[in-house]
Every structure is written in structure tokens, then in C-alpha cells.
């Protein structure tokens, strides 16, 4: 992947939907841009759980598939 001088936008899948985020942004930054509090959700990236403690460091990459979940009512 070639780097441009400008921050390139990248495409990622979030809960099955395509989203465009700035290249090199952390998962925390991505969550906040969607309006989510990183401390209230759990994140899976390409089928691997991303520990909450590393959400600020792990960067979103082109084509990543994210699942962002939380607790809802259930039996």
C-alpha cells in the first residue's frame, strides 16, 4: 500500500457495513468517530478479539472486518 502525503482514507467493514476512516487511525479513534464509548463495547477485528487495553494502539487497516458488540437483553 502506497502512502500519500495526505492522510489517505481507508475502507473497513464495521458490523457488516462499509465505513471510511482515516488511514492509520487507532480503533479507539474509529469507535469515537462512530459515536461509541470504547469502554462500553467489545471489538473483534478479523475474527480476533482486540483487548480493550490495546484499542488505543491497534490501528485500523484497509479491508479490516470489525464486529463491535455490547450486552443486550436476553434469556
Amino acid at each position: 500500500m502506497t502512502e500519500t502525503a495526505q492522510e489517505a482514507m481507508i475502507s473497513v467493514h464495521v458490523n457488516g457495513e462499509m465505513r471510511t476512516v482515516p488511514g492509520g487511525c487507532s480503533i479507539s479513534a474509529m469507535l469515537e468517530s462512530i459515536g461509541l464509548n470504547p469502554s462500553k463495547v467489545a471489538v473483534e477485528r478479523n475474527l480476533e478479539v482486540v483487548p480493550r487495553s490495546s484499542l488505543g494502539e491497534v490501528k485500523a487497516c484497509e479491508g479490516d472486518r470489525f464486529e463491535i458488540v455490547h450486552f443486550v437483553g436476553g434469556g
Binding site: K40, R52, V69, H70, V72, G74
Partner: protein, 263 residues
């Protein structure tokens, strides 16, 4: 000693955690979060089951369950409802552990949508993997004493046989196998699914179960908060009846008034 004191002293322990209430309630199917929270309060439950689902990224500011039922006060037991394979259930619980930080989880792997009967082959497989990864799974299962033994050997911290299909409200269909599971288990046994009304919960407790887990029986009652209170009483009544040692059954009558001194 009066009855409430004896119930309070009669705690139970699962995976090293001790609880006073023997009623676990679900948080699905309620009309509102407010009603759900009021029913949990009325039930006296210290554990609630919750599901793990995608956040609605189109509307991230929707109210959340955790805003109404405080996970610091009530133990959240994440479930795997809707999972039909061991892999899906394991994936769900790995996320649940990250979301909540809890190892105590409810495993259910379903076999088919029509009956929501557990797939025991997948359930056993998932139990083995989860235990290796440090989870403490309470496992929903068929009312089969052999399957229950196998789950316990695999490391299940509680055995949770169905009384009847999930959401059916039919009551406990096989008293004999539930009792056999209770007699054979060295971990807590809770009837999970099938309870429809208070007497069903009492029956489960009279059989010697350590607790009862229910959702629909409360959520679909016309007055869920009152039914939650009824279930709390029923679980306590059934437990006390079990501990008190019921009278033997006779085939014929035995008068309660003395025969001596009849005029």
C-alpha cells in the same frame, strides 16, 4: 428460627461465587428497560442473563441495558443464545469476556430453531474449549443424566437442564431425569427453560435443584413485576419444602384428627 432467616442463610455457590437468591432471570422480551429493571428488582435475582449483539452503529446513542441494570450490583451472565455451533458460541463468549471482564458465562448451543433443543455434541465440544481458555461455563443442556455427567467432567461449573423447550412455559416435563441429574451432580444444578408459572419453579426447587433460570415466564406475564415477585416466593417456598423433608406419600387416607376419644 423463622423462615426468612433460614432462606437468607441458605446461600449457594457457583465457581467460588456465593449468592443468596436462587432465582436467575433473563432480560429479554420486556416492553421497556424500566419494566425489565423493576422485574429484576422484584425477583430479588442477583444474576441476570444477557445476550451479546452488534451495537447499532447507525444510532450509537440508543439507551443501553447497562444504564438500567447496573453490572456492579447485579452479576451479568452473558449467554450464547442464537448460536448453533460450538465455534459461534466460543466466539461470542470471547467477546463477552472482553466486554464485561467476566469468566462466568452461560453456554447454550442450539440444535434447531423449531425446538431450540440443545445440540449436546457441540455443547460438549464448546465446554471443553471454554474451560481450557479459563472460562467458567454454566451449561444449558438436555435433561439427560449422562449428558450432565459428561458436561461436569468437561469442567462445567453448573448444569442447567431444560424443564421444557425455551419459551414454552410448559413446566417441568420430566421430574425423574431432573432428579437423577440432581442426585448425580457435584456442581450446582439449575432448571433453565420451560418454567411457565410459580408452581413450576417450586417443583424444580422441591426436586432439589440449586436454582431456577427463567425469562419468558416473567417477561410475558400480563404483570411482569408481580410475576417476578411470585417467582421469588415460589423459589423460596420450593427450597424450604425441599430442605424441610416432605412427608411420605400414602396410597390411602390417614386421618389428621385422633381416633381415640371419639364419642
Amino acid at each position: 428460627m423463622n423462615a426468612p432467616q433460614s432462606v437468607a442463610a441458605d446461600a449457594w455457590t457457583v465457581a467460588g461465587r456465593t449468592f443468596t437468591s436462587r432465582l436467575i432471570v433473563g432480560t429479554g422480551k420486556y416492553k421497556s428497560f424500566e419494566e425489565n429493571a423493576a422485574a429484576v428488582e422484584a425477583s430479588g435475582a442477583e444474576i441476570v442473563t444477557v445476550a451479546v449483539r452488534r451495537v447499532n452503529i447507525a444510532d450509537p446513542n440508543q439507551p443501553m441495558l447497562t444504564d438500567f441494570i447496573d453490572p456492579k450490583k447485579i452479576t451479568y451472565l452473558p449467554n450464547t443464545a442464537g448460536c448453533f455451533t460450538a465455534d459461534d458460541a466460543i466466539r461470542t463468549l470471547r467477546l463477552a469476556r472482553e466486554a464485561g471482564g467476566w469468566n462466568l458465562v452461560k453456554l447454550e448451543v442450539l440444535g434447531e430453531a423449531k425446538t431450540l433443543y440443545p445440540d449436546m455434541r457441540e455443547t460438549l465440544k464448546a465446554t471443553e474449549v471454554l474451560v481450557k481458555e479459563g472460562f467458567e461455563p454454566m451449561v444449558y443442556c438436555v435433561d439427560d443424566p449422562i449428558a450432565a455427567k459428561q458436561l461436569e467432567e468437561a469442567g462445567a461449573v453448573a448444569i442447567m437442564p431444560l424443564g421444557a423447550p425455551i419459551g414454552s412455559g410448559l413446566g417441568i416435563q420430566n421430574l425423574v431425569t431432573i432428579r437423577l441429574i440432581v442426585e448425580g451432580a457435584n456442581v450446582p444444578v439449575l432448571v433453565d427453560a420451560g418454567v411457565g408459572t410459580a408452581s413450576d419453579a417450586a417443583v424444580a426447587m422441591e426436586l432439589g435443584c440449586d436454582g431456577v433460570l427463567m425469562n419468558t415466564a416473567i417477561a410475558e406475564a400480563k404483570d411482569p413485576v408481580m410475576m417476578a415477585r411470585a417467582m421469588k416466593s415460589a423459589v423460596e417456598a420450593g427450597r424450604m419444602a425441599y430442605l424441610s423433608g416432605r412427608m411420605g406419600k400414602r396410597r390411602y387416607a390417614d386421618p389428621s384428627s385422633p381416633l381415640a376419644g371419639l364419642i
